[in-house]
Subunit: 388 residues, 2 copies
């Protein structure tokens, strides 16, 4: 069987696992149960869409490679995608799907017991798991020391390797192309759905011979919905004078690089132009504040202070860590987040500003922190895209 | 502001809410906190993609309309989409996003307290919520009687109204068209990504003047990956002799109608033809078993027995309830599921059969139960699509 593995060499996964094992040692955890789907991708290369049923990696200090316990139906995908040897893929029977009393986590617990790991201490991503699952672990592993490791792996993901940066750069190039394509297809009289199909096509086909490998959710918020941010495209057509806010992300091997731009059919209104000018000034200020040693709060406040001087405000945060699966739920670019920037942390500087119910404006960039400042991965022109 | 509401009239939502309130009365619950995103869609019409942060409907016996508590940024989308009056949309501040100690569920609890609902009994979709959230409700509502209502609304969703069936029929027509398009674009030498872009285009543009309103995840599993079911499309090209398994779903206003077909570039192998013949015979048997009063188990066993007589077996279940958000996690078409079929229950009869790591075959239909038997909503030919 011709196996197509993920984009990273084995050594890259072992490097990531070493960071995780070091954190496990610090927390005195012998076995870590990784159930978050994006953390599973990070530590194994698996990107198939099976997270709607239970599945988990088990990382131990002793073994180089983790064990991946998942549904029988999905085990072949794990063999195709994961860097580990096939003996590390453990399929649980289909009988556990939609079973009245049991589920796949019973198979995970069975494995922990059979492998002698229940005698040690076990880490769980506890606060992200459902109550049902945590109760099951506590009940079936009575006597085992269970250690909360919520977001332990997620925080490690925050600093990317050079190889990860390269993949995000590929995703960013796809985002740039899709933003450019939007300017070609947004026209008065065109259905939002038809424009979206063209934009999606770029995100799927990719650029430079590298296809997108997943289609992330795209927001196309056109007049009268520019005050919304996560609504699906509508059954409407675009009209003369309409404004269109787009948020999208190219994706390569699970890694996103998000990008937002605003479009105007015909000349932008005075209000839109003023907001754009102020926001771009804020964007420049935020990017100028990015350097190792600065905090997330510093970057956000550079933006907030700049636009507030010009009479604008933004209630929501200025962005978040980005990598696998769009938003990484760790560091935020917001006032009071004292996470210290380090080289190769990556963020979506998300400056969407939904000013009132009927009017919003969007602009954003995906950037990485360098050893001296900032490297913006996305490169679409910072303009209102005016179309006719 | 021109408001574009969902596809259903107010009375349809009130009808659904009446069913929920009746269940609340049975469980002696005064206020039900509905946090499952698909249940929120069901009871309000909201389909924007904001479920990655806390949000909840609060349904009470006394009020006709539920209250929807969600992030400030997403409140305008709720005003656009929800059937309720705008005063029922309660926006919580952006400060609660990525806050160290609080989150949006604190706003839900604040509301329950301010509305005097904490004195009564409160229903939670408890076993689907994270541990963090359930602990928060218990801690902040000490003294309140909390009643587990996990999947209470989800089970009510199982039986559709005529209006819901109509929307699923529209989704099914989109699925049929996308399956037909796949036969036009799967060609040797074509990149999987390029074929996917064409298929996605149909799912987005829709048919009969009705666009898709969301792009669901599509599985394109081509040789050598036909033994997998949820893997993303690869960076490969299709080749002479390749087999391609496709699972997709048109989507209208959140409602899916899934469909699977198998393609062969060049003449299908003898093995593939034999499996196809047996599976179609099993499909016919399963559909013949559908009638009010039969159980899910009866339908599944009609399939299993038919193919087992012909020397084939299938380990996984034969399908699941379908409606909002692809899989409804309630009734399954599997041996031992004694859910009794009723008119207008809808299912994805999912006969994908991943026989070994290197070989799988897929066929499926989306059907509804009628007063006398079955109505298959999807209508693509039940054939191996042979292309050159």
């Amino acid at each position: 069987m011709a196996i197509i593995k993920g984009p990273f060499p084995r050594n890259e996964y072992l490097r990531r696992l070493l960071l995780v094992k070091s954190e496990m040692a610090r927390r005195e955890v012998d076995a870590l149960v990784v159930s978050d789907q994006h953390n599973i991708t990070y530590l194994s290369g698996y990107t198939a869409r099976s997270a709607y049923v239970p599945q988990a990696l088990v990382v131990t200090a002793k073994e180089d490679e983790p064990v991946f316990i998942l549904r029988r139906m999905d085990a072949p995908a794990a063999m195709h995608q994961c860097f580990m040897g096939r003996e590390k893929i453990i399929a649980y029977p289909e009988l556990l799907i939609a079973h009245q009393d049991k589920d796949g986590y019973d198979a995970v617990i069975d494995y922990l017991q059979a492998a002698g790991l229940a005698q040690g201490s076990i880490g769980l991503e506890q606060y992200d798991l459902s109550t049902l699952t945590v109760e099951k672990f506590r009940r079936r592993l009575e006597g085992t020391r269970i250690v909360d490791c919520t977001k332990a792996v997620t925080w490690i993901r925050l600093v990317k390797s050079e190889l990860e940066i390269e993949v995000m750069r590929e995703a960013a190039a796809i985002s740039d192309a899709a933003i450019a394509r939007a300017a070609e297809v947004i026209r008065p009289g065109t259905r939002e759905a038809d424009a979206f199909a063209e934009i999606a096509s770029v995100l799927i086909r990719g650029v430079n011979g590298k296809p997108g490998t997943r289609l992330e959710a795209i927001a196309i918020c056109a007049t009268p919905r520019t005050g919304t941010c996560h609504i699906p495209w509508s059954e409407d057509i675009f009209r003369e004078g309409s404004q269109v806010n787009i948020e999208l992300a190219g994706s390569r091997h699970g890694y996103c690089a998000a990008l937002m731009r605003t479009y105007s059919i015909g000349a932008p209104s005075g209000r839109l132009r003023r907001v754009h000018d102020v926001q771009v000034e804020g964007l420049d200020a935020a990017l100028s504040a990015v350097r190792p040693g600065a905090t997330c709060s510093d970057v956000a406040n550079a933006f907030y202070l700049t636009i507030e001087k010009r009479g604008l405000s933004k209630e929501s945060r200025c962005g978040y860590a980005q990598g696998i699966g769009w938003t990484e739920p760790t560091a935020s670019l917001r006032d009071g987040d004292v996470t210290v920037l380090q080289p190769n942390m990556t963020f979506h500087l998300m400056l969407g500003n939904w000013i009132d119910e009927e009017f919003g404006y969007v602009i954003s960039e995906t950037f990485r922190v360098t050893t001296t400042g900032v490297d913006v991965l996305t490169s679409a022109p910072r303009q209102i895209f005016q179309v006719w």
